[in-house]
Each structure stands twice: as C-alpha cells, then as structure tokens.
Amino acid sequence: MAMLKHPEKIIFEYSRPKRGAYGQWPTEEGTPNAVASDIPENLRRRKAPLLPEVSELEVVRHFTKLSQLNFSIDTHFYPLGSCTMKYNPKACNQYAMLPGFLNRHPLAPESTGQGFLACMYELQEMLKEVTGMQGVALSPMAGAHGEFAGVAMIRAYHRARGDLARNEIIVPVAAHGTNPATATMCGCVVKEIPVNDDGDIDVEALRAAVGPNTAGIMLTNPSTCGVFERRIREVAKIVHDAGGLLYYDGANLNAILGKVRPGDMGFDVIHMNLHKTFSTPHGGGGPGAGAVGVGARLLPFMPIPVVGKEGDKYRWLAEKDLPQSIGRLSAFMGNAGVLLRAYIYMRMLGREGMHRVGEFATLNANYLMARLARAGFDPAYPGRRASHEFIITAKRQARDLGVSAMDIAKRLLDYGFHAPTTYFPLLVPECLLIEPTETESKEALDGFIDAMVAILKEAEAQADLVTSAPHTMTVRRLDDVRAARQLDLTWKPAAA
C-alpha cells in the first residue's frame, strides 16, 4: 500500500465553534444544557475542556487518514523480532464483539455470564495443556503484567514457607527490559548473568550466582538470541537445588508451540503473551493479555479472579477460594475481550493447528536466515538453528560501509517492509532481530530478502542513500533529542 505522503492536520485545527457531531448527543442541540442545581457551585467545571468541535465526517476522515500513516500487519510484512506479528484473524474480532459479550457488565451476576465464563474456563484449560502447567489465571493485562504476577507468586511462595531471605532474581543479560524492571517492582534485587558466544546462558556463572538468597530465575526459551537454551534441564536443576524457582517469559512461546512445553522443561511459572502467540491484535501498543500458568507449588498464589467450574456451572474464584492469592491486579478481570479473541483463535487452530504454529514459524525463520546468510549478511549465531527468530549483526557493514543496523531498518521502510527489532538484545552489536511468523508466505519472505540484498548493494555503491533513509514516508528521520529537550506533549491553540 502506498503511504500517504502529505501530513495530516491536528484534529483541533479542524475545530470550529458551534460545529459538532450532534447526532451523537443525548439531548438536542439548542435545548437547555444547564448543570442540575443539586450539584454545588464550587464543584462545577468553570471552563470547557479543550476538545475539538468537528463534524462526524471530519472525525472519520481525520482518523482514517491517520491510520493510513501506519504500517500494520494487514498492510505490510512486519518481521519484528520478539513481537510475533502474525495475522490477526478477522473472525476473532467479529465474534468477540457480539452484543451479548460487549454489553455484559463485569459485575453482573454469574448467571448472566455463563456463555462468557465457559469460554474463559475452556481457555484456561487449553493454555494449561499447551504449556504443561497445572493452573492458569487470565487476569494480567500484558506481558509485563504477567511477569509481575509471576514474580509476585514466587515471592509469596518463599514467604509462605518462612524463607524470607530469598529476594534475588537472576536474569540473563539478553533478557527483555521488563524482566529486571518487574523484579524491581516486586521488591527484588536483580542479578545479571552473562550469555555464552553460542547464545546459551553461562551455566557456570549461574552456578556461582545461586545461593540462599535466590528467589528465582527469569528465562526466555528460546532466548532473545533466537536460539533454544539447550542445557535447560541443567539450569532447572541448579536453580531448584538452590531453593529457587524458574520463571518462563512466554514472549517466544510461538517458537515451540506444540513441540515442547515450559512445564516439562522444569518451569514453575510462566506468562503467555496472548497478543503474540495467540494472535490477538497489538492495537498500536496494546491491549495485550499476559495470562499466567503455574506448577503445583504456586497454585494457591494465583492472581484472582480465576474461573472455576462446579457441575455444569461456571463461577469466579476470588479471595474466599484462594486466600493465599497475590491479589487482584485489575479492577475487574483483566482484558476479557482480548481473552475471547485468543479463545476463538485457539479453537480455530485446534490440536493439529497448534503443532503447525511452531513448525512453520521455525521453518520461515530458518529459511530467511539461510538465504540472508548466503546473500552476505552475518547471522549472530551461525552454527545454531534459528528458533522462530534469529539475529543478523550488521557490525561488518557498519565498520566497512558506515551503514548501521538502524540505517538498514529505516531503508527497509522505503521498500515497504516494517523494520526488524533493532539493537535488542543489547549484547549483539548492530543487531537486527528478525521474526517472520508462520503466517507469511514464501513470496513475502522472498520479497524481504530481495529488499535486503538491494539495500546491501546500495550500501556498497551509495551509502548515503541508506544512511539518510527513509525517503518515502510522510516524515524523514525525527529529531529525538529535540523531542526530549523541548517537550511538546500537548497541542496548544495559537495565542489570539
């Protein structure tokens, strides 16, 4: 899809006094609109808020135009590593937005929510099956929120045993930033351990790091280096022998779906990014859903509410049912509508479909890696299989041609491909983390390879074309320093 080249005005610039989408008002324009006399004067608003006064068509056109300034899965190949930008089936949205689901109040009696609760209960059961865990709680609203629930449960477990000294969380240097940030939020101390040259964590460093203060370890497997942690059994034994628990960051679950399960690897607690593996939309930054799964030891500590089944009736399990729970993490029960979308997706995949996710995600990643290596790019871990993603390091291009990973990423936009994840994980220089997902065709992958080859040629012949990219977007590279130094965070009407 061609990008819209001209910028779009700020919505307030369309605003005119006495214009509005009057058909949306509950009372007619021109009729009285005084605040009721029983609301005290000193509690009333004196000055109207700065909201635009625009027609319905202006609103629709403005926001439609804004949407056209975005890349998205529906319009572009989006090989963003660690983000699993797979197709979001339209059926998941359509059937989650049926009136019976949309109009249900979260505090309405359970008798008026048996259809919804049945979906949630079955979702819990399916997630238990694919992860090999004993219990699942659905309320965390994002990956980091699930991480919080997981580490809080680890803390609660140790505390319930009177094991109060355990406040250290071990994290590999390649971990997502949310891992150490979560450990801090839970009141833990973060201990980082290095990663070997082959992408596996340094097991000797782990052995030296564990001790009587170890609460647990947070791991992503396959790791953010795009490789499977081969000594996972040994890692689990070291941590368990030291009295710690294992946390599985489910960001990369797509790689192994239907192939191997975190519960079988020895993990005690896991979060799943339903907005990655189970294809709920990313929505331009959210909402996600970060359901957590637990082994037997952590069952009493799950965040509430959880859906229970008694006979053929479903009901919420809350404080009375799970008195040791880490508590409530949301006002109601998390991102229910997102959970419905994940449920629909899982039912549409079915048993065989689950296995295929891991298989074809891995096939696509290994194909891309092999072809790019042959075309002159350097995989960061050349001796290893790719998982569902892999890293290309542009260290050589940066040194020899003066073209960085960021330059390549920006130039890809001109070719109509969203950029891979750049500069993460931090331990690989000039890092491009590439994740194609299983829903992309061979032709889409070949198109991406052609663009990468063309960019490499440009870098050799005319590097400034790459280093000054993008050239075809609405805007060129943005001045981030100015954005942070001269803060302009809200629109202000021009002084009259």
Binding site: P7, A21, Q24, W25, A34, A36, L43, L51, E53, V60, H62, F63, L66, S67, L69, N70, S72, D74, H76, A91, G100, R104, L107, Q114, K128, V130, M141, H145, F148, H176, G177, A181, F228, K259, S279, H282, G283, G286, P287, G327, S330, F332, A336, G350, R351, R356, L363, N366, Y367, A409, A419, T439, P470, T474, V475, R476, L478, A484, L487, L489
Partner: protein, 456 residues
C-alpha cells in the same frame, strides 16, 4: 492449514535452501526427551462457520439484560464511527510505534489524546495509557512516592470511598516495594477533613481522592486537597472522565490543584465487555513528567524541519533503564486510547457536558422511582453524580437474583465490601436508560419485594 499459506512445493524449496531434509530436523537442538507428540487436551479445529455458530450461541446465552450497575464501568452510547475506525487494520494490527516514521498515525493520535485528556483533567501532561483505572491508582501512588520532594514516606492514605477493587489492585501492585496503603474509614459516605485529623502533621506521601466517589457522592475536593497540601501530602485524584464534562477538573481542586489525576477511559467509547479491555489514564503537572510511568509522545521535527511525532523521554522506561525504570509497563491499552480519542472528538465539549447532565438526571429519576418502592431508601442524602447507594429492608443478593431472572441487572451488592452499611445496593442509570427502563426496574423491584414479603 488455517492461517498458514505454505504449499508442499514451498516447503520443499525452503527446506532445500536451509539444507534440511524435513521440518522436524529444525528442532534437533531441543533435547529429545522434552519433546511432546500430542496435545490431547486441545479439541479438533473449528472452521469459521463452526466457531461463528459456537460464539453466537454463547453470546446469546448471556442475553442482553437491562443494566443498572456502574461501580467503575458505565454503559454509555458508543457512536458507530468509534469502532468502525478503531478496528481498521492499520490501527488494530499495528505494533507499538517504536519505528516512528512508519507509525505517524498512531503517534499523532496519542498526541491528540494527551491533549484532550490533559485538558479534561485540568493537567499539563498525560502518558499514553495504563492498564485500567485500578492499575492507574497503583502507578500514581508509586509515582507520588518517587516525585515527593520533601518526604521519603511510603505511606498512602486511601479513603474507603475509593473503589474497593482499585484499593485491592493498588495494594497487590505496590506491596512488594513496601508501599503502605492506610484505609481511612468514611462512615458518612464521604471523606471529610475531620476523618483525616488524626493524620495531621504525619509524614505521608499521598492521599487518594475519588470524585465522584465509589458511592456516587461528591467529595469536598477543594478542602481535602488544601488539607493534604498543608500537611505536605501529594494529592492523587481518581476521576470519572464523563463527570469532567461538568465537574471541576482535578487540576483546579483547592488552591494548588491535585498533583496527579488518574482514572479509566472506559466511559469514553469503550464497551463494558465483562471488564476489559479498558484503558487507564494518568495525567500530571509538567514538573513531575520525568516521574511518569508508561509511554509519552512528543511533537518534534524531521531532518527537513517538518512536523512529526515520536515516543519521548524513553529513558524512564524499562527497555532503556531496565531495573531502574519508573515502571515495568511495556504493552499498554493503545487501541482503547484510539477509541477514547475518537469518542471525545465526536462528542466534543458540549456533548460531553450533555452526556454528564443526562446521566445525572436519569440517576436522580431512578433514585426517585426506586425510593418510592416500599422497603427502599436512600443511604446518603448528599450531592452526587450519576450513581447512588440504596438501602433495602432485606438482604440484597436474593433480590438481585430475582431481578436477574426478570432480565434486570439491578445494581452492585455492597454487602461484601461494606458490611457496615447493611443491605446496601449501588445503582446507576446512564444516558442510555429511558424512562421506560427506569419504570420497568421500579415495577420489577416492587413486585420482587412484595413477593418476598408474601413468601416470608
């Protein structure tokens, strides 16, 4: 294969390029004994026709009862344009706008949202959303503790007039860091300066004030804010955005205004949907911007000097600062911010005031109609907005169960969270309830209470 486009020929060519014989070989680094062969607990696949049938049946099973619960989630009119535009693939299936040049639409929308929600709350800056109104209170408390210049206290005062689930969420979210929420009892349905007297002169980081409070009663926000500031305590406002169409924004509370405002965007175009996804909002004054959690969008220029938008102040965030970030939040509730921004654009300043006035008027009519029923009276004779507590002459739960059988969701039973209030029921009527709806509820309640008397 659903959602997988590969032909057998594609697979063969791809394996050849990789140098593998079969797809299975690509998993040869995973220890054999860890591999699973089958997922017996997953049912067979359903095609779209079959899943459509199943979901339609499940949704129909839940029906569409007439709803009179608010309690933090409100059934408002949602213009068709809100979700028609929000679910466009370019918003719906886009990622977080880290690649600014390819995400100008989302970024500009967030900038417009920040403008609207800042003005609505009377503040200077906003982030790009929190998870919900409950998590926003938790993050606001942590932020106040970080931002407080004269105190290192981790004590936060929360009146019992704050939503009970917001209190629970805040406690569960911040307990690990040693934050102590101290509940201030409010037996009269409002928080008064007298209730706070015992904290006078103590070292406390913040006070949370909900307006309108959980009971729908209006708090004397000016006096409370001034008391807190006089005692060196920061003020966190938890507010309903619809109410701000007519109620004084937190930025104007008392002499100096609240320090942080937060709440839930749900009333702004987001369906009830069993509790989510909603979006928390969090706004503050410019002086505290570097202590804010979550993403923030700024307007800047590109290399040609042309206007553009980018995520900014990212050094606060987990992907840069890791263990020292202001919060662990990464994914937020972006799509709901999209819906709220479109809603606010359609409804406009006068429309929002009209919605607020109409909700208030309907709730007053509802209170009038229900308190005319024998055995029902009003709990707090105080100024309120859009929600009220009623007292029944018998336990609430069986009454609500009978009303549900009659297709009416009659309110939220307060007896678990506020046993001291007795048989208390929280009711709400937004602008979507008609006079006929209100009459239907009043009639059903009268019949239910009468029948129960007969049965007794």
């Amino acid at each position: 294969m659903p959602f997988i486009p590969h032909t057998p020929d594609d697979v063969a060519q791809m394996l050849e390029a990789i140098g593998a014989k079969k797809v299975e070989d690509l998993f040869d680094e995973i220890p054999k004994d860890l591999r699973i062969e089958s997922l017996a607990g997953i049912p067979d696949a359903l095609n779209e026709m079959q899943i459509g049938r199943l979901m339609s049946a499940r949704a129909a099973q839940d029906g569409t009862p007439l709803n009179f619960i608010g309690a933090g989630a409100y059934e408002h009119h949602i213009p068709s344009a809100v979700w028609a535009v929000t679910t466009r693939g370019e918003f719906y299936s886009a990622y977080t706008p880290y690649q600014a040049e390819a995400s100008q639409g989302t970024l500009q929308l967030i900038y417009e949202y920040q403008t609207m929600i800042s003005s609505l709350t009377g503040m200077e800056v906003s982030n790009a959303s929190m998870y919900d109104g409950g998590s926003a209170v938790a993050e606001a408390a942590l932020m106040a503790i970080r931002a407080h210049r004269k105190s290192r206290s981790q004590r936060v005062l929360v009146p019992t007039t704050l939503h009970p689930n917001y209190r629970r969420t805040a406690v569960a979210t911040t307990g690990g860091q040693g934050v102590r929420f101290e509940e201030v009892a409010c037996p009269k349905g409002v928080l008064s300066v007298a209730d706070l007297a015992k904290y006078q002169g103590e070292d406390i980081a913040a006070l949370v004030i909900q307006q309108p409070n959980f009971f729908g009663v209006l708090e004397d926000v000016d006096a409370l804010t001034d008391w807190a500031h006089a005692n060196n305590i920061m003020v966190i406002a938890s507010v309903n955005p619809t109410s701000l169409g007519i109620l004084k924004p937190p930025g104007e509370w008392g002499a100096k205004g609240a320090d942080i405002a937060c709440g839930d965007c749900q009333p702004l175009g987001v369906p009830l949907s069993s509790g989510g996804p909603y979006a928390g909002f969090l706004t503050t004054r410019m002086e505290f911007v570097r202590q804010m959690p979550g993403r923030i969008v700024g307007r800047t220029v590109d290399t040609n000097g042309k206007q553009g938008f980018a995520l900014t102040l990212q050094a606060r965030e987990q992907h840069i600062r890791r263990g020292k970030a202001t919060s662990n939040i990464c994914t937020n509730q972006g799509l709901l911010v999209t819906a709220a921004t479109i809603y606010l654009s359609l409804i406009g300043p006068e429309g929002l005031a009209r919605v607020a006035n109409e909700c208030h008027r309907n709730t007053q009519e509802l209170v009038g109609a229900l308190t005319r029923v024998k055995g029902v009276k009003l709990a707090f004779e105080k100024p309120r907005f859009h929600e009220a507590v009623l007292l029944l002459d018998r336990p609430v739960a069986p009454v609500l169960a009978e009303l549900a059988r009659r297709g009416i969701v009659g309110g939220f039973d307060l007896s678990n969270d506020y046993p001291e209030l007795g048989n208390a029921l929280l009711v709400c009527a937004t602008e979507t309830r008609t006079a006929a709806d209100i009459k239907a509820y009043a009639d059903a309640l009268a019949e239910t209470l009468k029948a129960a008397v007969r049965a007794a």
